[in-house]
């Protein structure tokens, strides 16, 4: 839990750059795991569980798959392109009860705006706009417990899944 006496300004946050390394299927549940890899020389993988549709949207962008019609995040990019808005960066900025929060930093003619988003949407958009993806040091420090909770929640289904793989 946050120390209520602690104040944090977004400007003071240390940001660490990550890239999408791969999207894994969690076949036993309706989810996918987006694995982010640290880019500053240190080896670290940062997994985020996302919905199947959200994971698919990220996979399409990662593989630079061209779909016959624009998908939802292509449309967001198209809006940004039409209006001259650029995605400066996306930041995974918070974690509460095992849920990650992201902030999208936008810029248009020097006017900067931030928009709250789910990490899956933020990552999907970052890949399509070639915007960098960061995780705050604060989230990296606090993720262990968040990670553990996620793993524990998924543990049963995961074991079943592994057994199925081994047996087949």
């Amino acid at each position: 839990m946050d120390d209520p006496g602690q104040t944090k300004s977004p400007k003071d946050q240390v940001l660490v750059e990550y890239k999408v390394d791969r999207v894994l299927d969690e076949t036993s549940t309706d989810t996918k795991i987006v694995v982010l890899a640290r880019q500053d020389g240190q080896t670290d993988s940062f997994p985020i569980w996302v919905g199947a549709a959200e994971g698919h949207a990220i996979k399409l962008a990662l593989d630079t798959t061209v779909t016959p019609r624009p998908m939802s995040h292509d449309l967001i990019k198209s809006f940004a392109d039409h209006l001259g808005v650029t995605v400066k960066r996306v930041v995974i900025s918070d974690v509460k009860n095992s849920t990650y929060y992201a902030t999208i930093y936008l810029e248009n003619n020097g006017v900067e705006r931030t928009v709250d988003a789910r990490p899956s949407d933020a990552i999907s958009l970052a890949l399509r706009t070639h915007g960098p993806i960061y995780i705050t040091q604060d989230v990296l420090t606090r993720r262990n417990t968040a990670n553990l909770d996620s793993w524990l929640a998924k543990l049963d289904s995961k074991n079943i899944n592994q057994q199925e793989v081994r047996e087949s």
């Binding site: 549709a53 019609r69 449309l75 209006l83 808005v85 929060y101 705006r113 789910r118 949407d121």
Partner: protein, 151 residues
């Protein structure tokens, strides 16, 4: 020529394992079914039912990005429905200029509902559709086929 359409409903199509967004004109003479995927149906359903999700869904994000720069959705036009490829245009205003953006009808409708923008259909799209055929098809749907979106 374009005709303003209203949301008549959203239903599950068990034969195609997909969802149908049913649009109807003011007089109820023209009906336009649009087949959409589960995720797209979910995005439309949430806006129809005014459900506020704990976190912004993709189309909520779409709207908040437009809001961040005071860009407004003026209207949405369904321009063509081919067998596999559906077309719509989203009309926006931003800083006294007008923009037209290509989109899938499902995204366009999901955004229009969140922006209180009207949805239109091009006449050629309506003409392609035989209303009689559709009504017959709808009649054959069982009541339990409706409202399955939550499951």
């Amino acid at each position: 020529m374009i005709t303003q359409m209203h949301m008549k409903g959203l239903m599950f199509d068990p034969y195609n394992n997909a969802y149908i967004v049913v649009l109807r004109d003011e007089e109820g003479t023209e009906m336009l079914p649009i087949w959409v995927g589960k995720t797209e149906a979910g995005a439309i359903s949430m806006a129809l039912e005014n459900v506020a999700p704990p976190r912004p869904m993709t189309h909520d994000l779409m709207k908040s990005i437009l809001d961040a720069y005071d860009a407004k959705v003026i209207s949405v036009v369904i321009t063509d429905l081919n067998e596999n490829t559906y077309y719509a245009k989203i009309h926006l205003t931003y800083e006294d200029s007008e923009y037209t953006v290509d989109a899938r009808p499902s995204d366009a409708i999901a955004l229009a509902l969140r922006s209180n923008a009207p949805v239109f259909a091009r006449e050629s799209v309506l003409n392609k559709q035989s209303s009689e055929e559709l009504e017959q098809w709808l009649e054959n749907l069982k009541p339990e086929d409706f409202g399955k979106l939550d499951s």
